[in-house]
């Protein structure tokens, strides 16, 4: 079954192996039953995701998950990429909190939602789409891939900065140099990198990110204090840049 979705300003046709998978995209579907598709799973994909596709058996959840990287292949041709991170709007800019699974992204998001709900507007709770626009500006968009907590957002906005999380026995935040950022950020790009073209497209986006916005490392205990530390850091950054402007 083929469906068309609107994702980060693009129309993308997905070729689904299982019709039930369509429910994961329900907020994004613009057409059903298209004659062709832009993205579908490769026959080898189930074998590449043993933790999601047990014994090679395809389920709707597994298909939804495996489509992330395949969709990213399509998106890269249009200067967009799926990045692993929660994102929200605050004070007119979009902020991304990124880390590998299980590090505490959702925990941080929950702190923000509980402590300062009026300040933020959710973009996405798990996999955000990052776009390098023609005018050189970087934009964050929501996506259908909202994680197990199903944190669904609809906001989008210009990227203000990135916070990389790392579990620690203390709370501290510091700005990273490009040298310290490049691998940490690239590793959160949800890409297959099957071809040189894809790799260079992803690197072009990351190059723009590292030239344009700050990247911070939040070493943290996962408590409310760590979220408050991030908030204080963003406030200081905004104040400095407001003065500069």
């Amino acid at each position: 079954m083929n469906i068309e979705i609107e994702l980060a300003g693009l129309r993308l046709r997905l070729g689904l192996q299982l019709p039930e998978t369509a429910r994961y995209f329900q907020n994004y579907i613009t057409a059903v039953g298209c004659p062709a598709y832009d993205v579908t799973l490769d026959p080898e994909d189930p074998g590449q995701y043993p933790l999601v596709c047990f014994d090679g058996v395809l389920t709707p959840h597994a298909e939804e998950y495996m489509l992330i990287a395949r969709a990213s292949q399509f998106l890269l041709r249009h200067r967009r990429v799926v990045i692993h991170g929660v994102s929200f709007l605050r004070h007119g800019k979009a902020w991304l909190i990124t880390a590998t699974s299980g590090t505490g992204k959702t925990t941080q998001l929950r702190h923000w939602q509980r402590l300062w709900p009026e300040e933020i507007e959710l973009i996405n709770g798990d996999k955000t789409v990052l776009q390098l626009r023609e005018d050189g500006r970087l934009w964050l968009h929501p996506s259908p891939w909202t994680g197990k907590e199903r944190d669904i957002g609809t906001a989008n906005g210009e990227l203000g900065g990135i916070v990389v999380l790392q579990q620690a026995d203390h709370n501290s935040i510091r700005r990273l140099t490009p040298r310290e950022s490049v691998l940490r950020v690239f590793q959160q790009f949800m890409i297959l990198g099957d071809t040189e073209e894809e790799v260079r497209a992803a690197c072009e986006i990351e190059d723009s990110v590292l030239h344009s916005v700050p990247v911070w490392l939040l070493e943290n205990l996962g408590d409310e204090t760590s979220a408050a530390l991030t908030r204080e850091c963003l406030d200081e950054y905004e104040a400095e840049n407001h003065e500069t402007v």
Partner: protein
């Protein structure tokens, strides 16, 4: 004499002045998906794209790095060891 070859399918990219080696589908089974390398290693990589024997590599490296060949040799051997173990460089005896 040994000839050195870069693993096919590995892309050297520069991102904000930093260097990454990224394995495409062709290379993924043989080396890490992504590795960050320094400027000197990137220079050796670029030289290896054109030269394939140790004498030629050292000649070019000395010019590029502005050092004596004997000083470049230590760096080259360290680079070769690390990259070979990781699967990025292949070595074979020339006929």
């Amino acid at each position: 004499m040994k000839q050195y070859k870069l693993r096919p399918g590995v892309v050297l990219t520069e991102v904000c002045g930093e260097y990454l080696l990224i394995a495409t589908k062709e290379a993924k089974a043989f080396c890490p998906f992504v590795t960050q390398i320094n400027e000197q290693a990137a220079a050796f990589w670029r030289i290896l794209e054109k030269a394939n024997t140790a004498p030629k590599i050292l000649d070019q490296a000395a010019v590029v790095m502005g050092k004596e060949k004997k000083d470049v040799l230590v760096s080259w051997l360290a680079f070769l060891s690390k990259m070979s173990k990781a699967g990025y460089i292949l070595a074979e005896e020339a006929e």
